[in-house]
Symmetry: C2
Subunit: 202 residues, 2 copies
């Protein structure tokens, strides 16, 4: 195995992003869902994932279930760990984009600076900030995990929307106002935005 | 958007691993390449990637280029950081498997304990330890990045194979003896092992 000839023969034979995109039949991107706890981020992200799957798009969803106890299982909830949590999710999302997939992330990600950090890791047109805009009252009324109740009683400290800020995106790439809409309507709104942006075919 | 009915309607509509596998037309797995510096891990991993791509397999390669400066850019070379480096790569590989891809990793990963940790993160039949078995003399003679020279002079400390142990796999899932073989032959050997294991179709 001569190193020089090996390089000559194989150099152009590795699979690059362009080849992967060509095979997938759609462009890759990150759908960065952000919103309050209980806003419907994960539900809508999964609904979008399902609609994209039906269209033949290669997708993946990163959320608390598969990230928080795995890759980020060593992180707590300090300020430093919170930033590191989002940084790693952004880096992993970037790898999935490089692999040619449409990857959705569903984390509260309340701070603009953290979300900007991820946006800056990606190329133009590869990062879509999807703001799941559900009024706090609605989220608190749903309270699917009983977290708002615990936040109000003080059992949980620094809870986004109650005792810690949620910095809503001012210019989200996709602004989903969920009030009065079904999950399916919200998901279709996101998919249509991806069609308009040329990520997936109409 | 009523939470209860939302759950009823949408619960079965998220895309799970089985659906993703069905679409991809092959099983997902990790090809964990391990071997000395200069053994040909990355070259062969990319050659395997190319052969799999030609067969319509959805793949990705994790290596120093896309991981070390991104996700693991905060890690140094201490014992703790070395373990954390491999742990994170294993967790990310697991996410790619969950997404339905055949993901290759090309890192020296000299210690059995670290590799076992990753194997244990994955289900049976999803982790293939691919030992790129190239004699130390051959690796040192190639020395593509001049690292062996620096290790011999003492400029680099704890260099695998010279001043730090390489714990060769005793029962690798795929044992590639590269000596006297072309890169293409080595890559085909790996692909044939995947066909035998039922990961990809013949």
């Amino acid at each position: 195995m001569d190193k020089k000839s090996e390089n000559v023969v194989w150099h152009n034979h590795s699979v690059n992003r362009e080849l992967r995109i060509m095979k997938k039949g759609h462009k890759p991107c990150v759908l960065w869902f952000t919103g309050l706890s209980g806003s419907g981020k994960s539900t809508i992200a999964n609904a979008v994932d399902y609609l994209l799957y039906q269209r033949g798009v290669h997708t993946y969803v990163l959320d608390g279930d598969n990230v928080r106890h795995g890759l980020n299982g060593d992180l707590g909830f300090s300020d430093t760990d919170r930033v590191e949590n989002i940084r790693r999710i952004g880096e992993v999302a970037k790898l999935f984009v490089d692999a040619g997939l449409v990857v959705s992330t569903a984390f509260i990600s309340p701070f603009k600076a953290d979300r900007s950090l991820v946006r800056n890791q990606l190329d133009d047109g590869e990062f879509f900030e999807v703001f799941i805009d559900t009024p706090l009252e609605v989220c608190e009324q749903r309270d699917p995990k009983g977290l708002y109740k615990k936040a109000r009683s003080g059992e949980i400290k620094n809870f986004t929307g109650i005792s810690s800020a949620y910095e809503a995106p001012e210019e989200a790439d996709v602004h989903v106002e969920t009030d009065g809409k079904s999950v399916e309507q919200c998901a279709e709104f996101v998919v249509n935005a991806l069609i308009d942006a040329g990520i997936v075919k109409a």
